[in-house]
């Protein structure tokens, strides 16, 4: 019985942390946010070299064949370093879709390219977790029509699109009839946007039960976002504690004021159990099928709430500095804000958690 990380998992975290801080950390993120490029190819390349892009892809398809818990640990580091890199869709949800619902040919075609980072895949299923503005996609005669908003890892070469009937389809980014509209959000590190599909030829994933594959994608995606928030929130807390120790007001470090200490203690008290929740939810995705969806909902919703609290409180501990761009704290703040809404806001996810237990009316 062991509920904790293996040596290999700790090494994976460390390697990723070294790479992401080595690649420029906050400065790389700033440059990305300020620039016009919507991809950071060298970051993706580095992740591919570390095996992150192929983390959950079986070795026969050129991946590393690790677990979804390992993927959550990677997501945590990406959040910690506010990395401008695609991950939840291209490295987790899309491979899962292919593994669970693709046929041998589809798997052989796409999984090696995803593993190597040669192809980046976005996932368009926000309408399944909650359709806004009447968006949604319909399949007719092998072609897709409609609109898909807030594509995860939108800057991609390939999309996996879910239609209203919960079927899954592969769509090339340059497919005729596909129009892309870029969005700008508060989170400059993860570009998103909308696909308009006007009779786009699409290749279905041919699983018997694509709804189950879709469910697995959503569960895993939610755990990845929760893990991303965990990393970002922990980093904000660490920053806040360090800042409070160094900042002198009224002749003493503000870390010696009980009010500041208690703000930090409240953040730590709320956040520390979240780490175990994310581990458990990540583990459940692979190993506890009857709990996986429920724990994914709880991880997503609870981390959203705790993340929001930490984001605000850590900013307050920084005083005016936290509000400026100078310390860049807002990149984490916004990343946590982004994770909160994507793939279902906390209230929607909690409603789903209730339904999963047969508690809904």
């Amino acid at each position: 019985m062991e509920f904790g990380l293996s040596e290999e998992q700790v090494m994976l975290q460390d390697a990723l942390a070294r790479f992401l801080s080595g690649t420029g950390g906050l400065e790389r993120t700033r440059a990305f946010a300020a620039g016009k490029d919507r991809r950071a190819p060298e970051v993706l390349q580095g992740l591919a070299e570390l095996g992150v892009t192929g983390l959950i892809i079986p070795e026969v398809h050129g991946g590393v064949g690790l677990s979804l818990l390992d993927a959550a640990l990677a997501a945590e580091q990406l959040g910690r370093f506010v990395a401008p890199a695609p991950f939840a869709a291209t490295a987790v949800m899309a491979p899962l879709a292919l593994i669970k619902a693709g046929d041998a040919g589809q798997q052989a075609t796409w999984l090696p390219r995803l593993a190597s980072g040669a192809v980046v895949a976005g996932v368009a299923l926000s309408e399944i977790t909650g359709a806004r503005d009447g968006a949604g996609v319909e399949a007719r005669d092998g072609r897709l029509y409609g609109r898909a908003q807030f594509v995860v890892d939108y800057e991609s070469d390939l999309y996996i699109v879910a239609d209203r009937a919960r079927g899954l389809y592969l769509v090339a980014a340059d497919a005729p009839g596909l129009t892309r509209t870029d969005f700008r959000t508060i989170d400059a590190t993860r570009p998103t946007g909308e696909l308009v599909l006007d009779g786009v030829a699409a290749e279905p994933l041919k699983a018997d039960d694509s709804a189950a594959a879709l469910r697995a994608m959503i569960d895993a995606g939610r755990v990845m976002l929760a893990a991303d928030t965990l990393g970002a929130a922990q980093e904000m807390l660490d920053h806040a504690v360090a800042y409070a120790k160094g900042r002198v007001q009224f002749g003493r470090p503000i870390a010696s004021f009980q009010a500041v200490k208690h703000m930090c203690a409240e953040m730590a008290a709320a956040l520390e159990p979240c780490r175990s929740l994310v581990w458990y939810a990540g583990h459940a995705l692979d190993h506890l099928p009857e709990e996986a969806s429920l724990m994914a909902c709880h991880a997503k919703a609870h981390l959203s709430e705790v993340g929001t609290f930490v984001a605000r409180t850590a900013t307050e501990v920084h005083g005016g500095m936290g509000f400026t761009d100078l310390v860049g704290l807002h990149y984490w703040f916004k990343r946590i804000g982004f994770n909160r809404q994507v793939l279902g806001g906390p209230q929607a996810v909690r409603a789903e958690a209730a339904a999963l237990q047969g508690l809904a009316a």
Partner: protein, 391 residues
């Protein structure tokens, strides 16, 4: 308890309404110019109302209710209530109270008319909550102060003609008694302004650096070492205005409209009972602050005292507003993430902007932690932070 206005005030309200109807076309945004509009407002007694004529004001008697009626009617008509800014709201009252006759004559008129824009030089990187720790130095050399140091959070520094500035001129005096209140031209050599981008993406503030900035000795308000006293009386005015519950009420109404307009899976968001409950919780709190505001107004009019009611406004108001805006983002879901020049943006991005901006206001103008100290110490008469033993 009487929430009605007497006939005199109802007449005054009618007068204001008449003015606004007659002059709508002269207002900025409706064809008019901001400076001439300001001049008209001063002449008509709707701006600079209680400032003496000899200094460029209207010269009316202070009347809180009339001021309130003016504010209400301009808001109702959605016309500009004239110029604001730290010169008019903070410097002018300061000068009226403690400025020399020359200073009053020189500065108040042009400031009121918008001909002279001011910025405020108080905070420094190491003097935030502990403002009295400020370190910008002013040394008297001959008939000039020579100023070196840095200010931060200086809004409108890049637009301002002049600055009113706290400077440490008596380095040997106790912390609070070594500060002077100086006025000087922002075109004086040695001033460098760097915009300070904040989390909303805007540069609402600046850093201002002073290198051997030479300021004529007479441009001091009050005496040497009295700057803390001069500034502190005025700081209090700033705090309440950060969280006007009537603005909050408009914002709440906009939120209700949003919830009626937006849908999730084809259902109106307002029809979601969980969101409705959260909305009603916020509405109840907004109502409490509105009633509190009414009490403060009444206390001011009737010269009664409600100190605690005043002390809680900034803390409660900024936190509630931040929460309200955050709730609107939840209402919008992913659409609430949109920000800047982007398709499908709602409300011009104001929900996200104000969510962040009000987090800034929770911090600025005395953080929530400082507000709680004030409420405990001045409102509840609890002990001040005890003095520490020497390390």
């Amino acid at each position: 308890m009487d929430l009605s206005y007497s006939p005199e005030y109802e007449a005054f309200r009618a007068e204001v309404r008449g003015f606004l109807e007659a002059n709508r076309s002269r207002a900025p945004g409706h064809g008019g110019n901001g400076l001439t509009w300001q001049k008209l407002l001063i002449e008509s007694g709707y701006a600079a109302r209680t400032i003496p004529r000899e200094y460029g004001g209207f010269g009316g008697e202070p009347d809180i209710l009339k001021s309130r009626i003016i504010a209400e009617e301009f808001a109702r008509a959605q016309l500009s209530p004239g110029l604001g800014g730290q010169g008019i709201s903070m410097l002018v009252p300061t000068l009226l109270e403690v400025g020399s006759e020359d200073q009053k004559r020189q500065f108040i008129g042009p400031t009121l008319r918008g001909e002279m824009l001011w910025c405020q030089g108080y905070s420094e990187p190491n003097a935030g909550s502990d403002l009295a720790a400020l370190a910008t130095k002013g040394v008297l050399e001959g008939d000039h102060w020579v100023i070196n140091g840095q200010k931060i959070w200086t809004s409108t520094a890049h637009l301002a003609d002049w600055i009113f500035c706290l400077v440490r001129t008596e380095p040997d005096a106790p912390k609070h008694e070594g500060i002077s209140f100086l006025l000087f031209d922002m075109k004086t050599p040695g001033i460098e302004i760097r915009p300070l981008v904040d989390m909303t993406g805007a540069a609402n503030f600046n850093e201002v650096f002073f290198t051997d900035v030479r300021v004529p000795a007479h441009q001091i308000v009050g005496r040497r070492g009295e700057g803390w006293k001069v500034a502190n009386a005025i700081l209090r005015h700033e705090r309440g205005s950060l969280a006007d519950p009537n603005v909050m009420q408009s914002r709440l109404n906009a939120l209700i409209d949003l919830m009626k307009a937006e849908t999730l899976d084809g259902n109106r968001v307002i029809d979601n009972p969980v969101y409705r409950d959260r909305l009603m919780t916020i509405q109840g709190r907004v109502q409490a602050l509105r009633c509190n505001d009414l009490r403060l107004l009444s206390a001011a009019v009737n010269r009664q005292s409600a100190p605690l009611a005043g002390m809680v406004v900034k803390l409660q108001g900024t936190e509630l507003r931040h929460e309200l805006e955050g709730f609107a983002i939840d209402v919008l879901g992913e659409l609430g993430l949109l920000y800047g020049d982007t398709p499908r943006l709602r409300g011009g991005g104001s929900w996200q902007r104000d969510y962040m901006y009000f987090l800034g206001l929770i911090i600025g103008g005395g953080t929530s932690q400082i507000q709680k100290n004030i409420i405990a110490e001045r409102g509840l008469d609890m002990p001040r932070e005890p003095k520490l033993a020497k390390a």
